[in-house]
């Protein structure tokens, strides 16, 4: 990178900064400040009065006034006090009836939900009473000290999403490896009763629906690893929801400004001036993105400081920032009108948010969670620092896709592409075909085959997250079909674009060698990325379905080339209309192959 290039970037960045913040700042600053103050006030109001979404969900009738008063403290219940005979007469209009101390439940889904909530209310009440007992250890005679051990066997078997059932043995198991002496635990709780009292009251008060969403990040328990049995609950992180709000939304928001800045250049051909400057397109793009990048990093740093997290929490956020900016660039260049821009960006944000959010739910539970950088932040909050391998594993796809998207953006940052108003899908094909050389089509489609790999992985991992919860045979079958469709569509993009842009359509030579070249590129990209990153998932049952086995190279190659050739022949013989039927046929072949390889269909 030469000095001149860097200077170009800096000039662009300076102008972008001046334009955005001088024109926009004056107009919206007063309103923004007022709204911010209102936001603070509103959050204060909510903290005081609670969130009233689930108020009055259940109807409960009772002749026990004391119990009714206790339950009415929870706004989810509408409590009716009535006499026993009239309650029995009108029992169908209640979800729960309490006569004396007997609880009767309506046999519906809602009734079961109501009794679940009632038990929570009752547990909270019991804790509230018990904690006032002068003899705490009579009210809470059992305490559990929870200690976590690290397994010497890695994720693969039990973590692959299936329930490996240990066959119950008559005798106690014998450890095969070394026996390391473990210190005998002490028999006393190292806390004062008052400390424990405070902690029980705190968790009991917290055990309602609101706190699940409003819990402060990384709140430490006041009694260390010591719990009463009631306080035991598996460590599923609720933090991830909060993290989305705290970190991802501001970042997404800021990337919107960049998206709009790109879009603005295209309105009324305003960007013509920019294009006539003797600057390289990539310098223009990077320069325009730089102020937003700095802003996003600054916002993240401020948020990290406010929530007093370790400073290297920023590391997993950087690829997310890159990814948002790169997507903002491409969406800003693709959209025809503002409403298309809005819908595209809402659609993208939902996808990206789910990709980031859903895996991180399982942060402590399943290795799949590591595909989201947010999981690293959760680990960091818990005090388990992540390794370099973890970082590579969960962020490399973000880095790679961002680079490819930025590349696609800068190749297409020309007058012809920026100001044309074609429909969305033809435009997307135009963007892709900019990367295909008509003189060397074979090399181009081969490289394209390799470049789509990170996107294919992202989409497939998304599917993995989606399906791994379902019962075992179903999830495997769904995943096989899903993986096959994704790969076939991704591979065929190059051939399809060629069929569109070449004047005479595809030649037979292109059909054959194009399929071979794409399959080669696809396979090379797949294997390279696999070795580098996601070896952990590939060793699981699902991995072997999605990412064909690593040893045999010629079989998957034949499969990729063959399936693509099916699509290419369909395009050659039937024209563009036959694309979809071609894809369907190729998918079926692909799925059957995968079923055979994974042993579902015997040879």
């Amino acid at each position: 990178m030469s000095v001149g290039y860097i200077r170009q970037i800096l000039v662009m960045a300076r102008w972008e900064f001046l334009r955005t913040f001088s024109t926009m700042g004056r107009g919206i600053l007063p309103a923004a400040i007022i709204l911010f103050l209102l936001l603070v006030a509103a959050s204060g109001l909510t903290a005081q009065s609670g969130l009233h979404i689930q108020d009055g969900m259940y109807q409960l009738g009772t002749d026990n006034a004391a119990a009714g008063e206790m339950i009415a403290g929870d706004p989810r219940f509408i409590v009716y006090l009535d006499s026993r005979p009239s309650l029995l007469n009108t029992r169908d209009s209640y979800d729960i009836i309490i006569l004396g101390s007997e609880v009767y439940v309506q046999d519906t889904e809602k009734g079961r939900a109501a009794v679940t909530s009632l038990e929570q209310v009752f547990e909270g009440y019991s804790a509230f009473i018990n904690v006032q007992e002068p003899d705490l250890y009579a009210a809470y005679p059992l305490w559990i000290d929870r200690i976590y051990e690290r397994s010497t066997i890695d994720f693969t078997a039990t973590q692959s999403g299936q329930q490996v059932s240990p066959i119950p043995q008559r005798e106690a198991p014998e450890p095969r490896g070394d026996i390391v002496p473990v210190a005998t635990p002490k028999g006393t709780v190292p806390y004062e009763p008052d400390q424990l009292r405070a902690e029980i009251s705190r968790t009991a008060a917290q055990d309602d629906t609101i706190s699940r969403y409003s819990q402060v990040i990384g709140q430490e328990s006041g009694s260390g690893s010591f719990r009463t049995p009631n306080q035991l609950s598996p460590p599923l992180p609720f933090d991830s929801i909060i993290l989305i709000f705290v970190f991802i939304f501001p970042l997404y928001f800021t990337s919107q400004f960049f998206m709009m800045s790109i879009m603005n250049e295209r309105i009324e051909r305003r960007g013509e001036v920019l294009l006539s400057a003797p600057y390289h397109p990539s310098a223009i793009i990077i320069g325009k993105a730089l102020p937003y990048f700095v802003m996003m990093v600054a916002i993240s740093l401020i948020l990290i400081l406010i929530s007093s997290l370790p400073i290297n929490t920023i590391l997993p956020l950087i690829p997310v920032i890159f990814f948002f900016l790169a997507s903002a660039l491409v969406i800003g260049m693709l959209a025809r009108s503002f409403k298309e821009l809005s819908f595209l960006s809402i659609f993208f944000s939902t996808m990206a948010t789910s990709y980031l959010f859903f895996p991180s739910i399982f942060a402590n539970v399943h290795v799949v969670s590591l595909i989201s950088p947010l999981t690293l932040i959760i680990l960091e909050i818990q005090g388990d620092s992540f390794t370099l391998m973890d970082y590579l594993y969960s962020t490399s796809l973000f880095y790679l896709t961002s680079i490819i998207l930025l590349y696609a953006g800068s190749v297409n940052f020309t007058e012809e592409r920026l100001f044309s108003l074609h429909r969305l899908i033809p435009r997307t094909i135009e963007f892709i075909s900019a990367g295909i050389s008509k003189t060397y089509p074979l090399i181009s489609v081969g490289i394209l085959g390799g470049l789509v790999i990170p996107f294919v992985f992202m989409v497939q991992l998304m599917g993995l997250v989606l399906f791994f919860n379902l019962p075992m045979p179903l999830s495997l079958l769904l995943l096989i079909g899903y993986a096959a469709v994704t790969e076939e569509v991704a591979k065929s993009i190059g051939i399809y674009a060629l069929a569109r842009i070449l004047p005479g359509g595809l030649t037979w030579r292109l059909v054959i060698f194009g399929s071979v070249a794409t399959a080669l590129g696809f396979l090379a990209g797949e294997k390279l990325l696999l070795f580098a990153t996601i070896a952990q998932v590939t060793e699981s049952v699902f991995g072997s379905v999605m990412f064909l086995s690593l040893q045999l190279l010629w079989m998957p190659f034949l499969l990729h080339a063959g399936c693509l050739a099916v699509v290419a022949v369909a395009l050659k013989v039937g024209g563009l209309r036959w694309y979809i039927p071609g894809i369907i046929l190729a998918t079926i072949i692909h799925a059957i192959y995968n079923l055979t390889v994974s042993g579902v269909i015997p040879l």
């Binding site: 509103a42 929870r146 051990e149 973590q159 005798e171 709780v189 598996p234």
Partner: protein
């Protein structure tokens, strides 16, 4: 204001939405989230209520039991899904690390009626889905044991709390509350927010692309242009919300009072859309208008949620059928408020349409 001109603008905008296939994205989005509903059922419910994990049944998990003989051993071993093995601590931990056991409990020889608490040490594997399942099962065993110990020590208890006798059947449900109390109101209300963002796009585009002058040079007036666009945005709200309710019904989640819910959503969306239109008319530039609008919406929603009987809560109550005719009064109030806002908007629009462009 001629209603014919308003309708022409509405038709044009709806046609644009259809032609650009943007609505397809909105529906794709809905389908995508509906696809997640399988996930929502299992995964999110689990997150919402970890105890739902106890539903993983049919497997017997091995538990290492270290320490003195006591009731806890038989409580654990008598469960159909747990099997306890008497072991020494060191080999038990080694087996746990090799995944031959799912948990190890260390029980001291504290007598049941002692002054100090019984402190059980529970060893589990980190980062493990089975640990989460086993922990829920052990929790149930511990609760039984706690109750036993508490009754041994009951002579030391002084307070007499209210007593409730719950039915024996262990059938519990937590997904209902999540789906009806959180998912449905949010999903049904989403189209209203999307439409409000859409009105900003439609209005600011006329300004920024310079097409407003062309439009106003026809017989269409400024007010007709504005209300035509607003009408188009309102029109697509019930369609999307109804699609949601149908998708949910296809997933076996049947909502009560769907028509009333749609009416509330439309009333709420009118308010949001008019606020969006105010922002758009004031800034006439998409970035600023969207920024201010979305912040304002967040503030508005937070404020609304801290009051009982807010629109989201009304949707919850309607969908589970726990509200009488009160909601008509509230709906009427909401409509009156949006009428007031629309009068203000018309006056504001009349004022700026007279300003030099």
């Amino acid at each position: 204001m001629k209603s014919r001109n308003v309708l022409i603008v509405t038709k044009k905008e709806l046609g644009g939405i259809y032609a650009e296939k943007t609505i397809v994205f909105a529906i794709l989005l809905q389908l995508f989230i509906a696809l997640f509903s399988s996930f929502l059922m299992v995964g999110l419910t689990t997150m919402y209520d970890p105890n739902a994990l106890a539903g993983y049944r049919g497997v017997e998990y091995g538990i290492g039991y270290v320490g003195s003989d006591g009731d806890l051993y038989s409580i654990i071993d008598d469960r159909p899904d747990l099997r306890a093995y008497r072991m020494d601590l060191d080999p038990a931990i080694a087996s746990l690390k090799e995944r031959q056991l799912q948990a190890v409990v260390f029980v001291p020889d504290t007598p049941a009626d002692a002054d100090e608490p019984v402190l059980v040490t529970l060893y589990m594997l980190q980062n493990d889905i089975q640990s989460a399942v086993v922990e829920v099962k052990l929790k149930e065993a511990f609760l039984v044991y706690e109750e036993e110990l508490r009754s041994v020590r009951s002579n030391r208890l002084t307070l007499t709390p209210i007593h409730l006798e719950f039915p024996e059947t262990r059938e519990r449900s937590s997904y209902f509350e999540f789906v009806f109390g959180l998912l449905i109101p949010l999903l049904v209300f989403m189209p209203a927010i999307i439409s409000a963002a859409l009105i900003i796009d439609l209005i600011t585009e006329e300004y920024q692309a310079g097409t407003l002058e062309t439009l106003l040079s026809t017989t269409v007036t400024y007010g007709e242009m504005l209300w035509g666009k607003i009408l188009a945005c309102i029109a697509i709200v019930p369609i999307q919300s109804a699609a949601w309710l149908l998708l949910l019904a296809a997933n076996g989640i049947v909502v009560q009072h769907p028509l009333e819910i749609l009416l509330h959503v439309v009333a709420g969306s009118m308010i949001l859309i008019i606020i969006g239109a105010f922002c758009a008319l004031h800034y006439r530039e998409r970035t600023s208008a969207q920024f201010i609008f979305s912040t304002a919406v967040v503030v508005l929603i937070i404020i609304a949620m801290s009051f009982p009987y807010n629109p989201l809560n009304l949707i919850v109550r309607l969908s589970v059928g726990t509200i009488g005719s009160v909601h008509w009064v509230l709906l009427f109030g909401l409509l009156a408020f949006s009428l007031l806002l629309s009068l203000l908007l018309t006056r504001y629009a009349g004022r700026i349409s007279r300003l030099p462009q």
